[in-house]
């Protein structure tokens, strides 16, 4: 039995499950956003979840391997319905106890989820990903990458625009979010925090307090590298984003008419070794790495996404990663 924690519309999860089923494996897919699996019981023998479609109950501690792909367990897996009505007792509005940020259900869910994931991960010798490495801190990871000998971009975090001119940052710089950034669709508009290019002179003489904001040296980019990492193996792709002005600073400003070329790529052994040390430091065996190759052919580390979309590397490079992941979940090795 193999457990995968994911979300309903996560296609890579489905692709891996097709292959696991072909190899004769029983797969439990627990989505945080559908009603299929519900918590049933925790006792001395196990942690039981019930498939509400088949009415079959499974002891999750019988799993031999697991993959924390995405969110996985949420309140939805513990209760039948999220309370919508207000909770009024003796004319007192007690809704705050069952709804919202401070509700009892929320804190109970959090500890249950933590315990269940911990027990399953301790129990599964073979596992991919880690529920405890979801929101990696970009600043911390940059420090760790540097410690392991990787080149990282220089940055400063300012609180007033007048700090830009005297900063050690070069005249042309980019702004970046410190955490994940915005990814929202509101009405007919999408909002993303793109990496944007600025010049120091545009901010000269501006004495304006701002929320702590990251300014980072622009890197003269030759190409971008996306690498999918799994247990010591690297599957890399070069994105030739320099030929088009639109994608020069941020390749996610996709061009429909001339999408960037994605080439199969092999990182130098020395860079792979350093990256592997970063993953080991983070106690993570899987993730997607963003790097830039600069004009001097140096590799500049940007960040690690522990739940990145590997399909974008898999498709153009034909790495057959769904099968690699499926085999890893079955045998715990990469052939």
């Amino acid at each position: 039995m193999i457990i995968i924690f994911s979300t309903e519309n996560e296609i890579s999860t489905s692709d891996v499950i097709y292959r696991l089923k072909h190899h004769g494996e029983e797969v439990i897919r627990i989505n945080s956003d559908d009603d299929t699996f519900k918590f049933s019981l925790i006792n001395k023998e196990g942690i039981y979840f019930k498939n509400t479609r088949t009415n079959k109950t499974y002891n999750l501690l019988e799993a031999k391997s697991c993959w924390w792909r995405r969110t996985g367990i949420s309140m939805k897996n513990f209760i039948l319905d999220t309370p919508k009505e207000d909770f009024i007792a003796n004319e007192l509005d007690l809704s705050v106890l069952i709804k919202g940020r401070k509700s009892l259900l929320r804190s109970e869910t959090a500890d249950l989820k933590e315990y269940i994931l911990r027990r399953i991960y301790e129990n599964c010798k073979i596992n991919i990903g880690s529920p405890w490495r979801y929101g990696l801190n970009k600043l911390e990871v940059l420090d760790i990458a540097q410690q392991h000998g990787l080149q990282t971009p220089d940055y400063e975090i300012i609180s007033n625009l007048n700090q830009i001119a005297p900063s050690g940052i070069k005249n042309e710089f980019v702004t970046k979010s410190i955490a994940e950034g915005i990814y929202e669709v509101i009405g007919n508009n999408s909002f993303y925090t793109y990496t944007e290019l600025h010049k120091k002179e545009d901010f000269a003489g501006n004495d304006v307090n701002v929320f702590p904001s990251m300014i980072m040296n622009i890197i003269d980019k030759k190409m971008e590298i996306r690498t999918f990492y799994l247990d010591g193996h690297f599957y890399s792709m070069a994105i030739m984003s320099q030929s088009l002005n639109q994608t020069k600073v941020d390749f996610r400003k996709y061009s429909d008419s001339k999408p960037n070329k994605c080439e199969t790529y092999k990182l130098p052994k020395s860079v792979e070794d350093k990256l592997e040390n970063v993953f080991k430091h983070l106690q993570l065996n899987c993730g997607s790495v963003d790097l830039i190759v600069n004009e001097n052919n140096e590799y500049v580390f940007l960040e690690i996404n522990p739940v990145g979309q590997y399909a974008m590397t898999n498709l153009p490079c034909n790495y057959n990663l769904d099968e690699v992941i499926a085999k890893y979940l079955i045998h715990g090795i990469i052939e």
Partner: protein
């Protein structure tokens, strides 16, 4: 052209070059683009791919150098290829096509309301679902009727299909609201083709939700072609695939149409294709799983384009899904598809149905 003494030229991972009898093509799968080049340039690319520019030009006549450089320039401008000083960092893309986990790739089910049996159809869908088949085509030969289509789709909805398309005749009326209802209610239903229509038209259907872009839920296309004659086996430039490299690799190994395909006719007979007469028994008496493992059932699965007469000389051979039901020589399984009007020896597309030689075969 600017290049350094260690620059190596290589063809992009996203591009394939294919040589035909008279000309070659470059297919750029990342941009859905196809360009025609002379065969001499195909040969040239084979000679120079992954080699140093300086070494190549040492072997090129002084007179040819200009055209050589302008061709390389053309390849670089279109990003069909790149220059690098570190070729070891750009390994060639694998041409592997791994679909071992797929037992059935797609299935065509012919249904007719006048002989329809709900219980049989449910058991058929159950069997197909067990074989992990995700793509389904339903061909309804009886008069079009909303409640019947609704019933058929509700049975299919019990299974885990990812894609369902409907083929219908333009008899009986279904309103736009009814199509919207069907496309919205049955998520896998994605494309409806209505044949024998008075005019060619296509309508896209959307759902609108707050804080989301309108989501396309499906398309209803009307074709003036005849249902019986039109919906199968025709090969034209519009049918060629230039956007999925996986299909290219697939066509190099298997038959693009029949590999892992299943057809069940209105009476339950198991066939390779709706237009082929051979049947392999009835699904009510035999397990589909067993039938598709039979050697005879799989005999055409690996008839590749490289095996087929004329097609093997065609520059579009890996972009074409092929047809084994209608071929120029009916007794030869390696004969060219009848309903293809392309001649790779003259590079002319013509209407297949007016070719006198083919008329003779059709009459037979």
């Amino acid at each position: 052209m600017k290049y350094s003494k260690n620059d190596v030229f290589f063809v992009s991972s996203s591009c394939k070059l294919v040589k035909g009898a008279k000309r070659s093509i470059i297919i750029d799968y990342s941009r859905g683009d196809v360009q025609i080049i002379p065969n001499e340039y195909y040969d040239l690319v084979q000679d120079i791919n992954r080699k140093k520019i300086t070494e190549i030009i040492a072997h090129i006549d002084e007179d040819s150098k200009n055209s050589f450089f302008s061709f390389i320039e053309y390849m670089l401008v279109h990003e069909f290829g790149f220059l690098t000083e570190e070729i070891e960092k750009f390994p060639e893309v694998s041409t592997a096509y791994d679909d071992d986990h797929v037992i059935l790739k797609d299935a065509i089910l012919e249904v007719d309301e006048t002989v329809f049996n709900e219980e049989d159809f449910s058991s058929l869908i159950f069997q197909i679902n067990e074989l992990h088949c995700n793509d389904l085509q339903i061909r309804i030969s009886s008069k079009t009727n909303f409640s019947f289509i609704d019933k058929v789709l509700s049975i299919i909805d019990q299974a885990n299909m990812l894609y369902v398309e409907l083929y219908l005749k333009n008899e009986g009326e279904i309103t736009n609201d009814q199509w919207h209802y069907l496309l919205k209610t049955y998520a896998p239903l994605s494309h409806v083709h209505v044949y024998n229509a008075k005019t060619e038209k296509a309508v896209d259907y959307y759902i609108e939700r707050e804080t989301y872009f309108p989501i396309e839920i499906g398309k209803v296309s009307h074709h003036t072609l005849d249902f019986e004659k039109g919906c199968c086996g025709t090969i034209s430039f519009d049918h060629l695939n230039f956007s999925d490299m996986g299909t290219h690799h697939f066509h190099q190994k298997h038959n693009g149409c029949l590999f892992k395909k299943l057809t069940i006719d209105t009476t339950g007979n198991i066939k390779n294709c709706p237009k082929m007469t051979k049947t392999y028994g009835n699904f009510k008496e035999k397990r589909i799983e067993d039938v598709i493992q039979e050697k005879s059932y799989q005999s055409l699965w690996n008839v590749k384009k490289d095996d087929i007469a004329i097609c093997r000389d065609c520059e579009f051979r890996y972009n074409c899904s092929d047809c084994r039901a209608f071929t120029q020589q009916t007794d030869d399984e390696y004969s060219k598809p009848l309903r293809c009007g392309y001649n790779p020896y003259t590079n002319v597309w013509e209407d297949w149905s007016i070719n006198p030689l083919k008329l003779l075969v059709t009459e037979h």
